[in-house]
């Protein structure tokens, strides 16, 4: 394994402190499991991948990946398609499970569960509990077509978080206003443009008050003229809240605006990482240069 | 539980006779359904409304009313002004007629699936209408509907015991006859199992056909 100093994930620790470097030494074991407390103090690590490997058949999509994201930080994943960026988000959303390694969120195992001092396959209940800390916005919105806008946003807070209808409705209306769609509360998704649908999806994800928001190529399914509206909303959220973000995008200027750090992926590994200024202005790695040349 | 294998043994000779009648009804009924269905389907594409409308009305009516009552009609009403038929013959005609209204829909979908360009090409070549049907349209249409037709043969198999109600000695008729004379219960169970034993491999066969067809087209 690489030494802490070479480990690109250290860059994610805002100030480059040594804590993340310790991850390699603390191989996943029950005794060193992260504490279960969940303060949101800035600088605390919120998402952590330890030695995660994901394969599809013979193809290794993620290769012994280590990295972590601190609370409140906005991290953008870039790289050619098939490099494993989206796989990271899907692992976090438990839409996939890793072959090796552990993922922790806010100090709790997501991929495993501790029982009698051992790490075992997690129960559905445990996974749901941990996953409530994570929200996701999909490339293709995935709004529920059978529900109007308001209900799309209310449904999970009521039935998953157990909020009262009034409370959920108030929260939903605030968020829908935040994304600028207050006059469309009673419309079905099919009556909205792609950009509007994606803004509803953002509101829906935020209504769960997640600690981490995952954005999976949220503008790539949109017509070009609708992209700006969605990015404006996201930029607003990124700059005005303390929510942690993990972003996969091809919109490099957006990435530059909102990111605290950028990770360049290739073939399941992080080849380079750093501040957006560094990555976009003076990339060191050849693969990064090649990739940026194709997208910028 | 009082199950007696001896009774089953006693029933078997009658069962085989009944099976033969069932298969006979199924084979002949299918032939009628396949042929008559094609007639309905082609008639529904006829250039004259006075052909299309009555055929559509008739097939809709037959398809949406119970086969059992149709069998009663054929068995009790038709002889009043037409030929008297045996229960088996009536049953075969009833099954064939009823299912022809289903196969007509299958053919219709198959014919609709032949690209319009094929009709246009036939017109461009001045092929006569009959020739267009026989040489161009039907060969393309029928190939792709074979599995769907097969499904209706299985459906017909499951409906075939209805002919026992008007007195044909198919599997159910044989079981009924046997049970009523011996006051035993095993015969119905044997017939029930026979249906599963015949229907399951048949439906597997059709699934294979469907897959084969999906691969080649």
């Amino acid at each position: 394994m690489p030494s802490p100093a070479e480990n690109p994930e250290n860059v994610l620790k805002n100030d480059g402190s040594a804590t993340a470097g310790d991850t390699d030494a603390t191989a996943p074991a029950a005794s060193s499991a992260p504490s279960e407390s969940s303060s949101r103090a800035a600088g605390k690590e919120l998402v952590r991948f330890d030695n995660v490997t994901k394969r599809f058949g013979d193809v290794t999509v993620l290769d012994q990946l280590d990295f972590c994201v601190d609370t409140g930080k906005h991290v953008t994943l870039i790289g050619p398609s098939g490099s494993g960026k989206t796989t990271i988000l899907r692992l976090l959303m438990t839409l996939l499970t890793p072959e090796e390694g552990t993922i922790t969120v806010d100090g709790q195992y997501l991929t495993h569960e501790e029982r009698n001092g051992k790490l075992v396959k997690p129960s559905d209940k445990h996974v749901r509990e941990v996953r409530k800390k994570i929200g996701m916005v999909f490339q293709h919105f995935n709004l529920f077509p059978n529900m109007r806008v308001l209900r799309n946003v209310m449904e999970a807070p009521v039935h998953v978080l157990g909020l009262s209808k009034d409370e959920a409705e108030q929260r939903a209306k605030e968020l829908i206003e935040l994304v600028g769609l207050s006059e469309h509360l009673d419309k079905y998704p099919s009556q909205l443009s792609g950009g509007q649908q994606q803004r509803v999806a953002i509101a829906r994800a935020l209504a769960m008050r997640p600690q981490v928001l995952l954005l999976d190529e949220v503008t790539s399914a949109l017509d070009p003229e609708l992209v700006a509206g969605v990015l404006d909303v996201l930029r607003d959220i990124a700059l005005s809240t303390d929510i942690t973000m993990l972003v996969v995008t091809h919109e490099m200027s957006f990435a530059r605006d909102i990111s605290d750090s950028v990770l360049m992926f290739d073939k399941g590994k992080i080849v380079e990482s750093g501040s957006p200024d560094k990555i976009f202005s003076e990339p060191e790695h050849d693969r990064t240069k090649e990739f940026l040349a194709t997208v910028l | 539980m009082n199950w007696d294998w001896d009774v089953v043994n006693d029933f078997m000779p009658e069962f085989w006779d009944g099976l033969l009648v069932t298969l006979q009804a199924l084979a002949l009924g299918s032939l009628i359904a396949f042929a008559l269905g094609l007639v309905w389907a082609m008639a529904q594409r006829a250039p004259y409304a006075w052909v299309r409308w009555p055929v559509t009305a008739f097939t809709e009516f037959v398809r949406n009313t119970p086969l059992l009552v149709q069998l009663f009609f054929l068995y009790f009403v038709v002889p009043e002004w037409g030929p008297s038929m045996s229960a088996l013959t009536t049953g075969i005609i009833g099954l064939g007629l009823h299912y022809s209204t289903y196969t007509a829909e299958v053919y219709r979908a198959g014919i609709a699936g032949v690209p319009v360009g094929q009709w246009e090409a036939a017109t461009a070549l001045s092929l006569p209408r009959g020739r267009t049907w026989i040489a161009v349209i039907l060969p393309q249409a029928i190939r792709r509907v074979v599995p769907a037709l097969g499904n209706y043969v299985i459906a017909m198999l499951k409906d075939s015991p209805m002919i026992a109600v008007i007195g044909a000695m198919d599997m159910l008729g044989a079981a009924e006859n046997f049970s009523n004379t011996t006051f035993t219960i095993e015969a119905y169970t044997v017939v029930g199992i026979a249906f599963l034993v015949i229907a399951y491999p048949a439906s597997l066969l059709i699934r294979v056909l469907e897959r084969r067809l999906a691969l080649t087209s």
């Binding site: 077509p145 | 949406n64 109600v165 249906f195």
Partner: protein
């Protein structure tokens, strides 16, 4: 000629029995269809396997033979007798429920993968996803094949006359024996079944329109001929008798 007394004494109660048998069997069939249909999408192979066995057995079985077996064999095997009407409803409900399970399974399978993922992302339980997301979305796709099945079921109810349930067909046979006038009786009987089928179809169209409106879908409108037809897209693969149809 058939007298008015025969009509009111036999046919009218028969119509009511036919409607009852249809509704009870349909209710049982819907329950079976949803139970078996969703179990066939289970994550556990053993559950899928058992539900699949149910489907194959009842799909391969003749409803009439099943009715005979329930009425004549089962009571002697278990020393426990079924009321004929109950046996008829049971046989029809279990059989058409099996066909319906294929409709449910197919429609659930057609719900886009992204919907399941969105449900997971919002931490819904599997049951909540099924109830709040997948079934409501699959429902409009189920209604047309369910309509076809309902008409098949209505036709199937005539079978209960064979096990002495006094439905329309039973009344028809009774009146024929009494009056020896078979042509008008069976013609009337067929017309009555057709009218019932037509009425059911109208009702299902209302349900379909409402189902589509509830998911924000536009309402389909066919031509005159299509609107007169009792089936929707009856044709290749939509054989209600055979597979069910929603899976395309």
């Amino acid at each position: 000629m058939m007298t008015e007394g025969m009509f009111t004494n036999y046919f009218l109660p028969g119509i009511w029995i036919t409607i009852q048998v249809t509704l009870y069997s349909a209710a049982l069939g819907v329950v079976v269809a949803f139970a078996i249909g969703t179990l066939r999408t289970s994550r556990l192979w053993i559950v899928r396997f058992l539900a699949g066995c149910y489907f194959e057995i009842f799909r391969g079985m003749s409803a009439l033979v099943l009715m005979f077996w329930l009425v004549f064999s089962l009571p002697l095997l278990l020393e426990w007798r079924l009321v004929p009407m109950f046996a008829g409803v049971l046989a029809l409900g279990l059989t058409y429920g099996a066909y319906g399970s294929e409709v449910v399974r197919g429609a659930l399978a057609a719900v886009p993968e992204g919907q399941r993922e969105a449900g997971i992302a919002l931490s819904f339980t599997r049951w909540q996803r099924l109830r709040r997301i997948e079934i409501p979305q699959a429902w409009p796709d189920m209604v047309p094949p369910f309509n076809n099945l309902l008409i098949e079921l209505l036709k199937g109810t005539a079978l209960v006359s064979v096990i002495t349930v006094a439905d329309m067909a039973y009344a028809g046979n009774l009146v024929r024996l009494g009056s020896n006038e078979s042509a008008p009786i069976y013609t009337l009987l067929l017309v009555l079944y057709f009218v019932l089928a037509f009425t059911l179809t109208r009702g299902m169209r209302v349900i379909e329109r409402r189902a589509n409106a509830n998911v924000g879908k536009p309402q389909p409108r066919g031509g005159l001929l299509a609107r007169l037809s009792l089936r929707e897209s009856a044709g290749e693969g939509s054989g209600a008798l055979t597979t069910g149809g929603a899976a395309k």
